[in-house]
Symmetry: D4
Subunit: 227 residues, 8 copies
């Protein structure tokens, strides 16, 4: 494997990641100064690549915008997009579902990441299990997806119920929505890990990004097989 790396001193950009893992490098913004973020985006821009930042604060976004970088910031999902050469389209559909309205920021992080990586995404928001008919009405559409991302806080049961109703793999994303015994999202995380349904795997609390990358790796395998 040939390994290309750009060393910025504080960061080593992994320019051969796409060859190695099938996915372009993305930028996790927390813990980086606004100046570091700017330098990283400039490096991508120079390489002609599109870039995508997650968990980007309004302050970080404002800074890079003030520097004239042609980025687009989405405040709900806290994602930052630098347009450019993007990955080829992936086959199949990703369904992104949420239990409630408060889970939408995490779901949007997932949906936008998947779109950046070349996937087609359909959103099913506020279909939590306390009002089962809302979910059941959407099931026919959800069954068309190749991968389902189930985003839920509180008791996190959405993934279990969906996984029992579809053939596709379900990626469950617990969210920190809730209070008290939700323990900042530990309750739905544990709930999802203990699902009585099969066909569910789990990512970190609020990690919409990770769910999307996993979904796209799966689509990528399908592409590999069919192309």
């Amino acid at each position: 494997m040939s390994e290309e790396m750009k060393d910025l001193g504080f960061a080593r950009l992994d320019l051969s990641r796409e060859d190695r893992t099938g996915m372009p490098e993305t930028v996790y913004c927390p813990g980086k100064t606004a100046e570091q973020l700017e330098h990283i985006l400039l490096a991508f821009a120079e390489a002609g690549s599109a870039a995508f930042g997650t968990r980007c604060s309004q302050r970080q976004a404002d800074f890079v915008l003030s520097k004239g970088l042609p980025v687009q910031y989405d405040a709900t999902s806290r994602t930052l997009l630098l347009p450019g050469r993007t990955p080829a389209a992936l086959p199949g559909l990703v369904a992104v579902c949420t239990g409630g309205t408060a889970d939408i920021p995490v779901a949007e992080e997932a949906a936008r990441t998947a779109e950046f990586l070349g996937a087609r995404v359909e959103r099913f928001y506020d279909v939590g299990v306390a009002g089962l008919h809302r979910l059941l009405r959407s099931m026919e559409a959800i069954r068309r997806a190749k991968v389902v991302i189930a985003v839920a806080g509180m008791e996190g049961a959405l993934g279990s119920v969906i996984a029992g109703l579809v053939k596709a793999p379900v990626i469950a994303v617990p969210t920190s929505v809730g209070y008290g015994a939700s323990l900042e999202g530990l309750a739905p995380l544990l709930s999802m890990l203990n699902s009585c349904a099969e066909g569910l795997s789990v990512v970190n609390i609020d990690n919409g990004f990770g769910a999307a990358v996993q979904a796209c790796r799966i689509l990528n395998m399908i592409r590999g097989e069919t192309s």
Copy 2:
């Protein structure tokens, strides 16, 4: 309130509890020697009362049976019944549901306790959310209950789904069924406490007994109102 109490040295039997709380005293068997259990049952027998022991080990049951006490032991629920004067029948139905087969011992502890306390019980076992149609088929019957007891381990989502489908209060009982991140039942406990559904309250892990007493207190309030 007049307080009657029988002091056995190691235990003070609370003979006025029924007057005070509407429920006869029951016996929590763990931590008692077989001899202590025998003495307690004898005191009830002398008073002509029925008695009911929970979490009774086979060894404890064998001992009191060997002493000629006319008790009935149920190994699945680990309950011990000393027949005698029992409480009057309670109005209304209690539905006891489980997510899976492995939750049945806890559910039986709940069902038999409720029956001892005068309730009519219907059982709905193995109706967990991973195979939703199993639950949906039973919903018409479950909706007839005045109180629903939902017993589930793993992700503990059964209570949330039921509570969204009925008008009755739901008492959720997490079970220690599961492994790994179930943390001996903490995962379904947290899940139930964080339910996105309304109308759910929770008792301790594996506490079928407590759920039954709470259900019967509710029925008792109905009786109070109607008598």
Copy 3:
């Protein structure tokens, strides 16, 4: 069951919930933008329904007030009331008790929710177990309730003591009042789940709302039986 639902894009209002569960839909405000909250309230207003929001921030309340919506905001309980067609009165009394003064906001969330749902409520505040005579003096009045809601932080013993003194079901609400080893309310939560008293079930930390809904479901069962 006929399922009516109003889809606002970010939320699907469950307009048949009252038919299905006996309780009107209420609004959990956190994680919603002020604009989303406004749209939801407008949808209720258009339907002629009263609406009730919980955990509403001052900022959210100010926004909807600034839009001319005829809501009433209570800062202590952080609840928002949109007057309108309300549920019929429920039979029986709910007693809401607190261990200390600092538990009052949670208790008020419970009391106001129960009142919104049609219940008659009596408040017994600052009757914690460290000064037992304060509680004992109130017991005669508390015994008149059909359901008792016991709100307590710190060691959370209030529910156990009351449950040993009444016939009614007790709904225990742990609060995050305290510090250090209270672990943001986990200590009273665990305490309540392990109560040596019978007749106690528990809701999430600070979940006065959930306790009230459960209490009203119980009263609703009484109504069902008597009407």
Copy 4:
């Protein structure tokens, strides 16, 4: 969806699961009596289906063997196979890797489950990150897999390192191998959930079965696309 179900009283066999989820029902043995297990297997045998049990104890296996059922028991993985009509072969390869020798039982549960479900499996055992060359030597072969299952206890870093070196989705399985601060597998579970690598999703501690089902759902999506 047409729902077929065989109600054994203590269990409701979900005979339409394969139609609904693409996977035949399997049997989770803990919490079932040996007699219940026998009855379940008989029901499958009568239906002509193959059956597969997980976490089957030696005692349970001995009992059903003593009843003349033609099952095969593998003591390492604690799986039980009843031969019969099996699912069609799945396209692509599953690589099952372990950090150490002690992780093999969980890995074998994964490998045998995947094989039962129709997948082709290759095993890479004892390739943990403390001796990196062992892993690097196997990478060329591992890169041929469509899904990688990474089974590891202790610090659970195997999944992160592999996910950084392949394009396929990685399903990480934490194991309870270890002691002290491994907290019965919580340490590798948390480690995997916090992976700095992308393309990793996680199942419950020791849940080789769940990882295999998820892997096979992924392969099934590939089949769906290509067939």
Copy 5:
């Protein structure tokens, strides 16, 4: 301070502890082989001192008895007494209270330790807060104590209630009695640490011994003042 020490190789007996801390050294038996325990007791016997062992297993006790050592073993409290020169009597009374019958072994460890150290002890067992009248009846007697030891599992509220009713310092001992969310005694431990009552301090779960030593240090201070 002059420091005397007897080095047995595996243990260094602290023979000047009584001078330094006012209490004779006692023996914590777990983790010691039966032979090591015998050697330690022999060393005390040679010095003419009484000795007291805690958490002594039946097997350890049987071994030292089989060697002819004149020890007395109490199986309930798992304490071992080697008679000999004992400390002088302490002034004042220690009240040892328990919530339930199952807490008695821990309470007996406390009571027997305090008696060994020279204190006068009165026992009040099974006076838990779920049947408040049982406690209230005993309060007049409990108020005569100079120190109260409150032993309770489950929700651990006994100490709070007593501390609100007496002037004496209360030493609270959580016990591992309970199940599920009692978390092996963590629930009552946290409960006691968060007591809303003043005048309570806490020792480790099941540490009847530690409570007794603390009680006796307090009595010792009284003696110091009055002699």
Copy 6:
């Protein structure tokens, strides 16, 4: 016992607490509005009693000062003193020790509370076990105390070391000083509960107030005996 209580609506002042428990009521300020605090202090002032508030914020203090109440506020310990009729002096000395400088606010809460309750206090600050000679130099003075309060964060070993060197009871106060694995004070709390030294009991994290009350109850017992 005659129970006097002043009901302020939001609080029930326990005016007979001093008779019942030997200690005047004090005011825990968090969770009270500045107005509530003012009303409580006025009630004490009207009764001619001194009053003492703990965990009083600067804002609360400024408010009551602005209302002309003659209170004294100490910002380090966050205590508020309303001078007035105070308890009689207690016999004996309380030694208040800290591991480090950052533990001083908690220690001052303890020291000032004890002084308010009538005790004589000597302070030994920054004598932590990492520089043992600092502690050993102070031991002669510390040994003169009737009760030792050991305040320490981080590993919380101060109490164990002191308890091994004195005859007096030691009240250990864990503090939330530290970071990371100190878990907001849980590490020193657990450490103190597991002390290998005898004669140590523990209060909640940062609970200098509780340690002081316990110390004063002990001194009160000495007074009771000697008067």
Copy 7:
């Protein structure tokens, strides 16, 4: 050992620490008022010693700078240096490595502390295991170090991988970088404690300072041997 100590009232400066432990005293700034910090630095300045403060806030630094103290503040590592007589140079090299960019502040605390204590430091930043080639490229240089400090958040695998590739002792520093199931750094802490690699020991979360002191003690032992 002769013990010199300067008592500032709130702090006892341990001026003989260097003789006793081989390291000069440093100042942990949190929990100290800016004034206390100034007094401590003045005491060092008067003694002609260099001083080094860790976890110093910008506000504390600004205060002491405003008082004219000739200190240098580094905002990334939050360290404060008062130049003066410094320790003699230590033999050998310390390699400080990080998994990502966000770990740099902790790494800089380690690097600057080690430099203050006389060590030669080389930095290897952003060499985390998700892009293994970044680390492998640096290994030849890292192998020249006498001690390696591995700073990593998230899954914390960096230390394990390095420890398997070098002969030097590795000091692992978990960081609180991450979110959700990272539990403020507990995940990498547990991961490092459970490392399957040998030759790793661990310090507290974010404790770059502690790692550096340990590294320097090791170098000091080498010096001791060689001088």
Copy 8:
């Protein structure tokens, strides 16, 4: 680096580890069948190497002894030694200290591992901080060590106190000795990680082996420098 590896199917022996890390491979016995252990030892024997197994059960040891392998088993430390070509002697002394008698098995694992790796070891057992004079008497000898291993359960303060008194690096090993709030060794683990003393790093609970390897890596660095 040239990598030699012997693949036994279930294990890949890392025969080049000594070249790479300076330490020979050792065998962690849990999770290996007795037969697997035998095969591993035979592979070492064939290579003429000494071998060393840790956490070896009596049953495993008996099996390999019954096969005629010339191993020596130590039941206290549960270590297994196969004599053979051993590493060269390391310079300097390792001091192994324990808080109590019950910590000795872990300490012996450390001591015997260090001896196997070529170190000279001196043992200081039962020198815990509750009887400080026992430790102070040994300090002169302990100060002669190049590395100190401090093994302690309960509050785990031994390491902090020693680290404040010596110049050498201290490796702290928490043990699972204790009960209740010791949480199987988590309490001393946290305590050690939060040490207020400098110069302490920590390994996993009961990991005497890991402490010894780290100590020997340190001695190895000294050797490297001096040879």
